[in-house]
Subunit: 652 residues, 3 copies
């Protein structure tokens, strides 16, 4: 089954609407809905009093309609009765402001009262619905991520630190507390990062973010175990949120889930949205590597793109293209936030399959068509995407580069990774993600010919060794600036950047020279360095491109080092999209990595999942695409076509 549906909130509507909902779901081909995501105050209106009648009725009604349910535990939004009775369960900001209820996510995950209440309501749901015939999936919580700096959090943080560091001497060493007289002489002195006079200790901030991810994961595992005990056959997930600020390390979490589920909201109204969709799907597939690369798009907006300050309505056909784009990259379907647009509440204009205008609306009509396509594809979609290129993703490096005291305030880890991904996306080359912070790195690398490391600021000795072996064994490694700088504690690797990769790259960087906005340095390749430059000394590497201006004129900019049977490229300058793509195309060519389909026109995208080829035309003109060993396919403007692949045809 392909999952098709969305968040469904019958508790917001009178029961007479429910019948219409199920009829419309059937009309649209909906196969599953997420139920109860924010229904805590409806299933437990007072502490210890549970009202499941309404939920029984809608579960049964959905089942009767042939619609499956991803039943949520509602713990992401405690009801006012809880936070009124347990104010210590509310989150506290770094400034010491205890937040109030009146929104969602108003919980402190370290508060015992919150954890107990969450276990209770999850346990009651498990008890009652674990064997309900409509139940297809448990959806624990929603977008885990609330940050809190209260004293209960401080206590939990200290416990986590004790486990990690063992004793205070080790912590003081890891955190370089000798800087600014911050040596801790008692565990009780250690606090979460709170408002302080000037720059905070970056190692403290980094460990706090790791702790928070683990602490939230602990809350998930607690619920998961309750649900699993009630019926071991129902898979369990929680929806990961992708975006510019993420509290948890999804790569680490994935192993604890039965199915990786992702909420993905592109933010660019133009072509960027398609590249973002591809990025989101590929990254989700990376997290799902342990589950064979299959994951589920749990939320996206049917008919809007949240651009900064403005909801952009999608153009006709774009809902379909995006949805099939996720599918092509490994999703087990397409779920949306949300089924029916609410009449009130904080997100009353968030898009829905059934908008305020009702089913007589463009979005519902497109949804009906999409449902039909998904039904037709149901038996043809399988397997996963096979890629020979992988990009490194590392949440702690991201967090570290969000700190203060860095050489440039606008370093943007996410943008750097997305830019590398976009280069391959535009060249039509399938791309995976690997996680240098995880133990499975050595196991995963052999599948790839090219590995790219953008801004991999933190790296362990072990991961650096694995990457070195990858090159020695014939791989092609591409290292961007700000990679390999520090150990996992954030301590600089001395002797010249990028410490961890100096030997494999055959270079030594003796000086960073960030470039001001509007400043650029010509390269002798004809491209330009923007945002970033460095004084690089080679130590064995071949210089491919040199800086051709500024005080760096003549110095190496892009280098390649033959190392064992492979090559290691160093890209010191900040590059624009086109310049980066040129370099990565060259790496791919040297590595023998080819696009899925060569010679596609701009804005046409080909993705292969298993034996199915997806052809997306994001442009405004029809295109006809020749296929090897098959008839050409014409894709209308804004359209998508799929084609089965002859067994003998493959992208590599």
């Amino acid at each position: 089954m392909l999952f098709f549906g969305g968040d469904y909130n019958p508790e917001q509507w009178p029961e007479e609407v429910w019948a219409q909902d199920v009829a419309l779901m059937r009309q649209a081909g909906v196969t599953m809905v997420s139920l109860g995501v924010f229904a805590w105050s409806h299933v437990e209106p007072e502490e210890g009093r549970f009202t499941f009648g309404w939920l029984d009725r809608i579960m049964d009604r959905l089942h009767d309609g042939g619609i499956k349910v991803a039943l949520a535990t509602p713990t992401a939004s405690p009801p006012p009765w809880f936070t009124s009775a347990h104010p210590e369960g509310l989150p506290v900001t770094a400034d010491g402001v205890r937040l109030s209820h009146g929104s969602r996510d108003t919980y402190c995950v370290s508060a015992p009262a919150y954890r107990a209440a969450a276990r209770t309501v999850a346990g009651k749901l498990a008890e009652r619905y674990a064997r309900h015939p409509a139940l297809a999936l448990w959806h624990v919580h929603n977008e885990y991520g609330t940050d809190c700096r209260c004293d209960l959090t401080a206590a939990a943080f200290r416990g986590w630190l004790r486990t990690k560091h063992g004793d205070l001497d080790a912590l003081n060493e890891a955190w370089t507390t000798a800087f600014w007289s911050q040596r801790y002489s008692d565990w009780a002195q250690i606090l979460p990062p709170r408002a302080t006079q000037y720059l905070p200790n970056p190692a403290q901030v980094l460990d706090f973010r790791r702790f928070l991810s683990d602490e939230l994961l602990g809350a998930f595992v607690e619920q998961r175990d309750l649900l699993r005990a009630a019926n071991p056959d129902i898979p369990i997930t929680t929806n990961f949120v992708q975006g510019g600020w993420v509290s948890v390390d999804h790569a680490r979490w994935a192993a604890e889930l039965d199915l990786v589920a992702v909420d993905h909201y592109p933010a660019d109204a133009g072509d960027g949205a398609e590249a973002e969709t591809a990025f989101g799907g590929d990254l989700a597939r990376g997290w799902a590597a342990g589950q064979g690369g299959a994951w589920l798009l749990m939320e996206t907006a049917p008919n809007l793109i949240y651009t900064p300050g403005r909801m952009h309505a999608k153009e006709p056909g774009r809902l379909t293209r995006h949805s099939l784009g996720y599918l092509a990259r490994g999703s087990r379907g397409a779920m949306y936030f949300q089924w029916r647009q609410p009449r009130g509440g904080a997100e009353l204009f968030h898009s829905a399959l059934v908008p305020h205008a009702g089913p007589d609306s463009p979005v519902f009509r497109e949804a009906v068509g999409l449902g039909r396509r998904l039904a037709a594809l149901r038996d043809r979609v399988g397997g996963t995407v096979e890629a020979r290129v992988a990009i490194g993703w590392d949440a702690p490096s991201w967090w570290a580069l969000q700190g203060a005291g860095l050489p440039a305030a606008d370093l943007d880890y996410l943008a750097a990774v997305q830019q590398a991904h976009r280069a391959f996306y535009r060249s039509g080359i399938a791309t995976d993600f690997v996680f240098p912070g995880l133990d499975d790195l050595a196991a995963r690398l052999p599948a790839y010919r090219v590995v790219v490391l953008p801004h991999l600021y933190l790296v362990s000795d072990e991961a650096a060794d694995v990457l070195r072996e990858f090159v020695a064994g014939g791989g092609h490694l591409v290292v961007g600036p700000l990679s390999g700088i520090a150990d996992p504690a954030g301590r600089i690797r001395l002797g010249g950047y990028p410490g961890a990769f100096r030997d494999v790259l055959g270079v030594r960087v003796v000086e960073w020279r960030p470039l001001a906005l509007g400043t650029e340095i010509p390269l002798d390749s004809g491209d330009r360095a923007i945002r970033w430059s460095e004084r690089v000394e080679t130590a064995g590497a071949q210089t491919l491109v040199r800086y051709a201006g500024d005080v760096l004129a003549g110095a190496p900019a892009i280098t390649r080092n033959r190392f064992g049977a492979g090559s290691a490229w160093y890209l010191s300058p900040g590059l624009g999209d086109d310049a980066l793509r040129r370099v990565l195309d060259q790496v791919a060519a040297e590595a023998g990595v080819r696009p899925v389909l060569a010679g596609l026109p701009p804005r046409v995208e080909a993705v292969r999942r298993g034996e199915l080829l997806f052809l997306f035309n994001h442009g405004a003109e029809a295109v006809t695409i020749p296929l090897p060993g098959a008839d050409p396919v014409t894709v209308p403007p804004g359209g998508v076509r799929t084609s089965g692949l002859a067994r003998h045809w493959a992208g590599d």
Copy 2:
């Protein structure tokens, strides 16, 4: 009498300055001053100890000089002794910060101690001065508006909510608390909007703003009743502040005042200031409809315009033009903040009639000339402005559009209303304001041929009915986007926007398509949609203008629906000033509404109040204006001329 004068703070000056003040006031023709606005610490230097001697002396001295007094109750700025003794009387921010004294407006209007202290000092003033011969007007408080989120406020808010909603079920329904599990099971759980984790509930915010307006009004009424009891012959006012952030619903307040008084500070140094002045005056006259349209400009800055980040000094003659502009639109005079520029304090550079430089200064000389003109006009000014066009104003819609979670973050209710007003202003068409949220709507509409509703987001069924009747009876209704969307609780009217006006407009909007800054869509009229577009379906209406680009190409943009004896126009796109003016000119022409004087050159403005015609020349060249049935009038650059009207001549 025309009131001419300003805030006068003798308590800031040694008594030897007072004699000079009165002499200068007489020289300038000052007729009234506002006294005691911030004098609490001078009339009650310690709790319960009153020192009226100084006030007696200055009241007597002013009376001897023939100058009337608008005596203020000083409750807008409690003295340090009060807030030190009653810290619970200080306001608390949404973050929980209790503010300190050290500025003005440091009160919580829901704190019993503050209310009691305010009653005491107001009562003492009433007792002592209610029959003083200089007293012409009571000026209660100053610019009511302080926001507080403390626990005392929470308690008052709950009381107000109980009265409004009756029971918790009704409140939960009105606030759509089913969204995000916010169902309240006990009144005690309800809080003012405070810092919370993510988006707040917009209905809670909206009710809080209504509550705050009512709570502040309660404080006003309490003082008013005390003052009225002391001498029922003295009219009572409080000064309404116009601006970008206003805490109270002046339209509702107006009924409780004997005289609407307005503080108005234009913010545009260029031509915009004149349009703002017209807007401010017309809106004030709308509030004063219950008092025959006569109101009082209580404050403006004599010689500066507060542009963002910078005080712009007015050009010579502009003080006069602005002042007579307010007069022409119904003001009973021109009062300023302030008489004498202070030597110190937080606003030491705020403009005054007597500046730091003293009376030997351009501003004082212009004030003297203005005083002379006002004296000459005293017996000729009367009646009010008669308009056939009205614009709808609704403070709750404004507040609702200041929330989070809207389709665009830069929706600007005030700008939309001002833009509509500016279009008529530039076409020389007299414009009133009506208030769709008030009960007098049905009574007021018959006076108008055209009613324009910009961004009337909230509308009740009753008001929608009245507006429908207006059209059915022959009126011309113009509805802009984001009108009629929700009921007064903020719940969306389902089935297609603009729910409340779908039938009268004969359209159905199935999708909003906000436009990014810098993006525009051509219309087939030659104009362009900016900021906003929509997918409109007609259901009876005639399409006058179509979108001519983007995915909306060919779809209706501007429509007109014949409904009963009238017409209802729907303007879906965001329009620039010129484009909107073209449409509204067409509506006015169809409705037979003419300008006060046709064919005026740019930057020349004609306003008729009663039998007096005001001609303003905001340009740099003299203009000669032909008048029907009278000699032409030449207005010098930057000048103003008035002309009596032959009885038989009328603007309509």
Copy 3:
């Protein structure tokens, strides 16, 4: 000896690194290091337990290496044990947030527990090291400046106010508390400026800033006296920080120091850095007037310029040029933050003489060369710079112009002073600073022919008298706008701006007309007024330049008044750099002030200190400079040359 070295933090490194450090220091010619600046948690790891062994070892090792020590008291960063035990010793923001440890500067200087702990650790250091042979200088604390608004601070503030004002009536008068009903009837009502509802009282803010400077000075003096008692022969300093936000009035502090030490970080990556360096050095020399004009550059960044949001790496040779630039302006050497770049901590990318890359790096190599030059100059550098031009500097005027309620929000005192300085810098004219708020003004003025007062907003009657005498005696006074406006309490001098200088200038300003960004008014000189204009009336002064546009057309813009034997110039408009330089060049010419060397090409700078002439070539081409009575000197691009001066040659 010339001091050459930097902050050295051996506590951040294992002892095996220390030997390498000393060897590298010797290689670089380091003569002194600042030790222990943030070492509190290492010298006193628990309350009352002192661990001096490590410090003994490094002091001895440095002594053995021939390197002197500026030993710091570590009180700028209390250890976590202190703030955990004494939370009242943490600073509190104006919003009431008590900050946490986890950074530096987390102290409240008014907290008795903090002061006691600071005295204890300083006393122990004094006791142990006051006679150590390596000790050359005591370095008290670091960059005094932490602001706190807690209740302990409030109590101290009240004590300071009682001393200053005597009684509440005087305070109420000085603070104009009659404005907005802020009259204080009990000392206990007075608070530091805290979050309040609207604009604060500027006089309260100003007195608080004076108090804070004095309160911090008290803490310094307390330590100084302890150190001096232990060995009266060791000079004592604390490092003054220059920058955009400074809490203390360095001019007042200087008298309490044996040696003025300055931390200076230019912020402009372009040519501006050189002008900033000159400004920083000249201002430091001004503070050091009581010590013969010799001061010490205690910190600058070896290889970076902190531009907004980005660390700019210096170009080769720039470290040397900047360092010799400070030396030429009176510094007793060149010290840096820092010796060795740290592996972790909040400033892990702050520049160092030994960077992460190690000694095999451009910065260390340049440091070695610089060390050699300093050694060669050691016996030739002496005396001070002699200037005939002085600019007025007044920290309270700066603070006053940072307030709210001013006629323009972007008034920038520092920028105005720097602009005046830059004009003379670019003309090659040596410039001093004088301090109109200090008692030594009368004693210092006779050395000068020209005195310039940019934005000297506050001025006492006494200082105004001294300046008047200066002109009467033949001096040339240049007054810019916003000078002489208020008395030291911030009360406006009435009757026309600039009240204190109306008579000496022979002008009266009746109106300020701030100009919006992008607006400008032509002057009849061909220059333009930007940002600021005024309506000026002359009263004896000669009009040199008139406004030639806007409503000011024809009105005086720049005037000169013959007064006694001298002249007083008034510059009413805001001017661009070139326009201001033209005016100041004219003043200098009339005053007979000449540049150090006439006719230098652009970007070439000549500074004379004692008998040594420094020639800086900031340009990219070699220049050959003719010298009077000596051979011409060729300075390579980016280079510096020095030349001894024939006795008979002098710049004036």
